[in-house]
């Protein structure tokens, strides 16, 4: 049966946004898994974690609550699902804060009224990874695989905001295993000893504190090399962008030769399900994920 969700794609996933290939691969993956993602009409930015100095407390919650209210109105009964770590974290934080405080809830609705909206605390906030693990399940994720990612070694880089402070149910903050399990489910080799799994890439401070952030990114990439990785895989669009695109900068500053591709879990699934490089968003990389592209163009013999 088709699973339906109110989709909160987030700003970076928009057409020609920095994570537009994430969205492409999610769409392809969801089609195979019979998941229907309907974008919330007129959704807005969550404010991310970085906008605190301008937003203050209530305005941030109001931005998230607007999306909830729109989802409740136009897509009643559907869970709100985010693909971006920051969108998910921001939305979920708002959801929990408003649940816990009737005053904050009343204030939020007072502000929302100005936009003709009302939040009723019905919509649940979830991450795409939760949908995959909890609603679909590893077994069903494995089922449509036509091209197992055999012989490709993946360093599973979970990063921060998909992991903390909320994380995925049943996983530890220090060593979450779901990304490794997902890699193995689609036939790849997971480098489970990769020790930079939950390190911070600098997040938004990659802009404002580039040198400090690039020090983090350097460690994240070098550790992947040390473990023999072919590809780093991540669930977070900002992790993906930071870790991929600044490698050339790190090389310029430090004389290193980093050239490690960074892909999304959704691209792994899409490729394993037989998507073309374009459908899997593999044309959206600064550092080419050669091994994934090779598998994606490979023709599999039809099953008898």
């Amino acid at each position: 049966m088709t699973k339906e969700y109110a989709f909160y794609p987030g700003c970076s996933s928009q057409l020609r946004g920095s994570a537009s290939n994430y969205l492409t691969s999610v769409n392809s993956m969801c089609e195979t898994l019979d998941i229907k993602m309907t974008p919330i009409p007129d959704w807005n930015c969550c404010g991310a974690s970085i906008s605190y100095a301008g937003s203050g407390e209530l305005a941030r919650h109001v931005m998230n609550a607007r999306n909830f209210a729109l989802a409740e109105t136009h897509l009643p009964g559907q869970d709100l699902v985010a693909t971006c770590a920051a969108c998910w974290l921001g939305a979920r934080e708002t959801r929990e804060k408003l649940d816990a405080s009737s005053q904050l809830m009343a204030e939020t609705n007072e502000a929302l009224k100005q936009a003709g909206l009302q939040y009723q605390a019905k919509a649940q906030v979830r991450h795409m990874v939760e949908v995959l693990i909890e609603d679909v399940g590893y077994e069903a994720i494995a089922k449509p695989v036509v091209k197992p990612l055999e012989g490709v070694k993946f360093a599973g880089y979970v990063g921060c905001q998909t992991n903390r402070p909320f994380g995925i149910a049943g996983e530890s903050f220090e060593n979450p295993m779901y990304l490794d399990k997902m890699v193995e489910t689609v036939g790849g080799e997971a480098l489970t000893q990769y020790e930079q799994k939950v390190s911070c890439c600098g997040g938004a401070l990659a802009f404002s504190e580039p040198e400090k952030s690039q020090k983090q990114i350097k460690q994240i990439v070098e550790s992947a090399y040390d473990h023999g990785a072919d590809v780093i895989v991540t669930p977070c669009p900002l992790c993906q962008a930071n870790v991929e695109i600044y490698q050339s900068e790190i090389n310029r500053r430090h004389g290193t030769k980093l050239n490690m591709p960074v892909a999304y879990y959704s691209q792994l699934l899409a490729v394993a399900y037989g998507a073309t490089p374009k459908q899997a968003g593999l044309d959206g990389h600064v550092i080419q994920p050669k091994k994934l592209q090779d598998i994606a163009v490979k023709v599999v013999p039809l099953k008898a």
Binding site: N21, C45, V286
Partner: protein
């Protein structure tokens, strides 16, 4: 009364988001040891909490330290007293900004303000504009220099179709921008009233 005046602690509790948690800190230092940017903080969260209790108002609010938070939440999940340290750091930084005590040229302070203005203008982040606003924050020449330095990164993203030059003229935007502005104005009013600010 204790040797320390509790005035600043009380002020933080009343006016800073999650400020009521500060007194719960037991000075174990796990936050300081867990921070990815820990080496770059003048005062770790642990120290800031103690400074608040010691009434060091100016030193705390004019500190660059809180602005070093990457929002990784490592300190939050490790804190044995379960203090929402990330949110307190953001709250203190925001409060310092409100009072005009935050260090003006602090790069993350400036980025934070630019980001919020950027995303609330149309309801969605304009990534290209955001990058330009960051690079040209110190004027035309330094902006051009930064762009030149970053040309490889920019070209890579352009070829990968992950930045769009037309975003400057035809940005992604929400339809109900008016409603968004109105609800935000209301939210600012309510918060100012609650915390005793004037904007």
């Amino acid at each position: 009364m204790s040797a320390y005046g509790a005035d600043f602690l009380k002020e933080v509790e009343a006016r800073v988001e999650e400020g009521e948690w500060v007194k719960m800190c037991m000075q174990c230092g796990v936050c300081a040891g867990s921070c990815p940017f820990g080496d770059h903080w003048e005062h770790s969260p642990q120290k800031i909490f103690m400074m608040i209790r010691a009434g060091k108002r100016e030193q705390v609010l004019s500190s660059e330290s809180m602005w070093m938070c990457t929002s990784c939440y490592n300190c939050v999940v490790r804190c044995p007293r379960e203090l929402p340290i990330t949110q307190i750091m953001h709250g203190l930084a925001t409060y310092a900004e409100r009072l005009g005590l935050a260090p003006k040229m602090q790069p993350t302070r400036r980025f934070s303000l630019v980001f919020w203005n950027n995303c609330t203008r149309t309801g969605r982040v304009n990534e290209l504009k955001l990058v330009m606003q960051v690079y040209f924050r110190n004027g035309l020449m330094s902006g051009l220099k930064e762009m030149w330095n970053m040309r490889r990164v920019a070209l890579g993203l352009l070829l990968a179709k992950r930045i769009n030059p037309f975003e400057l003229f035809l940005p992604h935007k929400c339809k109900d921008r008016k409603g968004i502005q109105a609800m935000l104005t209301k939210a600012y009013q309510i918060e100012d009233r609650k915390r005793g600010f004037s904007r």
